[in-house]
Structure formats: structure tokens, C-alpha cells
């Protein structure tokens, strides 16, 4: 079987992460802790953003820039997570 190329693997990963986000968000209706599901949804959003930056936008070939963008995005998602969780503390 032919192995999918890097771009196709990135696309598959994005589809899988998107599906997992929907599943994680839906778990609230099954009694799962909102803080856990919210954290999962934001973690998956971060993963998707990293894939787009690395593979679609080509930062995989620019490791210094990729590290910088990943750091900034991670901090941003942590701020969003903090704002999301604050009312539930």
C-alpha cells in the first residue's frame, strides 16, 4: 500500500482531531466534568493549529520559527483555558 505523503497525513490528523473535539464536547451531556472536556477541546485546537503551522504553512522546515509560534500559541491557549475555567473554580 502506498504511504500517504506529509500533507495528506497532516490533513488526516486535522480531520481526526476535529472529530475528537466534537466527541470531547459531547461528553458533557454524558456527565463528564466540564473542566476536563473543555481542556480537551482546547488541547485539540492547539494541536490542530500546530499542524497547520508546521505542515500547511511550512514551518516544519523552519524549526526556530516553529518553536516561537508553538510557544506563543501554547501561552494563548493557556490564557483561554484560564478564562474558561475561572468561573468553575
Amino acid at each position: 500500500m502506498m504511504k500517504p505523503d506529509t500533507l495528506t497525513r497532516a490533513w488526516i490528523a486535522l480531520i481526526v482531531f476535529s472529530a475528537l473535539s466534537m466527541v470531547a464536547a459531547g461528553l458533557v451531556n454524558n456527565g463528564f466534568d466540564q473542566r476536563l472536556t473543555g481542556s480537551l477541546v482546547l488541547a485539540l485546537a492547539l494541536l490542530k493549529a500546530r499542524v497547520i503551522l508546521s505542515r500547511y504553512l511550512g514551518l516544519a522546515d523552519a524549526p526556530s520559527w516553529r518553536r516561537g509560534f508553538n510557544l506563543a500559541l501554547t501561552l494563548f491557549c493557556l490564557i483561554l483555558l484560564g478564562l474558561y475555567l475561572f468561573p468553575q473554580i
Binding site: Q34, Y56, L80
Partner: protein, 185 residues
């Protein structure tokens, strides 16, 4: 002296520097909007949750798949153009733009549904942010469609790289906007 000196930091950056300046600027604008959305939610989490229940998650999730696939086609177009497969690249760009139109149609249906429910930006602060963030994003989708069609016509590899980068920025903003506005309960 080394025969192959290391590229400078700016030389390492793929594509056009000004496009990256635009990407970072747009991320900062949308990032500030999303942070403000969650900050205002602090004052009324129950009201925000109730307002969010009026959104159509499945349609928005389908739109995520549409944009991700469109971005994939734009990235493939650049790949094919560098291999001198001009027709394949052009077709991929037109298909990416067509998926952008699909995104807008679904968004239009979503807005029409809200209007039918009597929901406007004044209904609740949630909807003010909803219309502001998704509307501004939709405006970028329109611009991105035009850019994709333009670079399908003027298909120099550098043009396609810039056009595809703009489209990936639109994609990137959506994968952050969608979970915050539609999924975080």
C-alpha cells in the same frame, strides 16, 4: 570558512515576510477577540451557555472539515506547481476556492436560522461576539476566495505560495475560533 553558511532567521522563514506579518497581525486581532469573548463570559457563564445552545454545532463542525480540506488543496497546489504540474495546481486552487464558497453558504444558512429565531447581535453579549468574530472571519474567507482565484490565474509559484499562506491563515483562525465559540460549554 564554511562552504554552506547557515541561513539567517529571516531566510529560514518560508514564503513572503509581509505575508507572515499579516498572518501574525490577524492572529493577534482574532486572539484578542477570543480572549475578550471568554473574559466577558466570566460575568454571565450561564447566559453564555444558554446562548451557545442556539448554535448549530454540526454545521460548524462540517465547515471545519470543509476549510481543512480546502487548505489541504491549497497546500497541494503549491506542491504541484513546484513540480511544474500547472493544470493540477490550478484545479486544486479552484477546488479550494469552491470549498470556500461552500463554507460561506453553510455560514449563510446558519445566519438565516439565527435571524428566523429573532436572534440579533443585541440579543445577548454572546451573540455580539458571535456575529463579530464569525462575520469578520467570513469576510476573510471572501477575500481568500478571491486571492485563490487570482493566483490560479497568475500562477507563478511565489504567487501561489502567498495566496495559499493567506488561505491557511483563514483556516488557522477558524480552528481556534470554532472550539471557543461553538464547543466550550
Amino acid at each position: 570558512m564554511s562552504a554552506n553558511p547557515q541561513p539567517s532567521l529571516l531566510e529560514e522563514l518560508p514564503g513572503d515576510l509581509m505575508m507572515w506579518v499579516l498572518i501574525v497581525s490577524e492572529l493577534l486581532i482574532f486572539g484578542a477577540g477570543l480572549a475578550a469573548f471568554l473574559a466577558v463570559r466570566l460575568s454571565d457563564p450561564a447566559g453564555f451557555a444558554e446562548a451557545q445552545s442556539h448554535l448549530h454545532r454540526t454545521g460548524a463542525a462540517f465547515n471545519t472539515i470543509v476549510l481543512i480540506t480546502s487548505g489541504y488543496l491549497a497546500a497541494k497546489a503549491l506542491h504541484w506547481r513546484t513540480l511544474a504540474k500547472r493544470t493540477a495546481a490550478r484545479m486544486a486552487l479552484v477546488a479550494a476556492a469552491a470549498l470556500g464558497v461552500v463554507f460561506l453558504v453553510i455560514k449563510g444558512v446558519e445566519y438565516a436560522d439565527k435571524a428566523a429565531q429573532g436572534i440579533t447581535y443585541e440579543t445577548h453579549p454572546f451573540f455580539m461576539f458571535y456575529y463579530l468574530l464569525t462575520g469578520f472571519h467570513a469576510f476573510h474567507v471572501v477575500a481568500g476566495i478571491l486571492v485563490l482565484l487570482l493566483v490560479a490565474w497568475r500562477d507563478a509559484p511565489d504567487n501561489i505560495e502567498i495566496g495559499a499562506a493567506f488561505w491557511h491563515m483563514v483556516d488557522l483562525v477558524w480552528v481556534l475560533l470554532f472550539p471557543v465559540v461553538y464547543l466550550l460549554a
